[in-house]
Amino acid sequence: GESVGLHLPTLSVQEGDNSIINCAYSNSASDYFIWYKQESGKGPQFIIDIRSNMDKRQGQRVTVLLNKTVKHLSLQIAATQPGDSAVYFCAENPYSSASKIIFGSGTRLSIRP
């Protein structure tokens, strides 16, 4: 099956600071790029997406940046809270028909009190 990034790096952030989680993707033809959050023992939860013709999109406390030149996606979380502790996955719809969601590498976000 398709999957990218099978070992999870960890990002440790002080509570209240901003977090930046990065992801590299390979398929330039993807129509959408997406971020999901997975808390321990739960299924992933949608956070935000961005269409390939955009370079920035903001949500509540989150911002996603897309750099197509270097095939890089990032998720910025403002004023990180303990509830933000989770594994964050980037994902993409790899084809213009956007039929399936392929998950990329995950990053574990740990919050220091």
Partner: protein, 114 residues
């Protein structure tokens, strides 16, 4: 409930036995996805359904794995002659329609093959 429901939540089976995992998607969601997640790892795409059809089965690891969906609702993932390497959490998700980026996931079925 209004979310995606998977059963059983945990399954322990002996090597060589067949198992059937069930997913009840959110009512009205036409797209349904199955993923496998090994401990501490990412999500591995297995198969997706649009209605009752499976346009993409490319992620199924072997012919021991099969899935079906009926009534544009419940889906079952069947693993025949289970092997220890099949041990993982199997996650099901549904979305309103094909191409929707917001997929809603169930809690998963944790399969342990002993």
């Amino acid at each position: 409930g209004a979310g995606v429901s998977q059963s059983p939540s945990n399954k322990v089976t002996e090597k060589g036995k067949d198992v059937e995992l069930r997913c009840d998607p959110i009512s009205g969601h036409t797209a349904l996805y199955w993923y496998r997640q090994r401990l501490g790892q990412g999500l591995e795409f297995l198969i997706y359904f649009q209605g009752n059809s499976a346009p993409d089965k490319s992620g199924l690891p072997s012919d021991r794995f099969s899935a079906e969906r009926t009534g544009e609702s419940v889906s079952t993932l069947t693993i025949q002659r289970t092997q220890q390497e099949d041990s993982a959490v199997y996650l099901c998700a549904s979305s309103l329609h094909e191409g929707n980026t917001e997929a809603f996931f169930g809690q998963g079925t944790r399969l342990t093959v002993v």
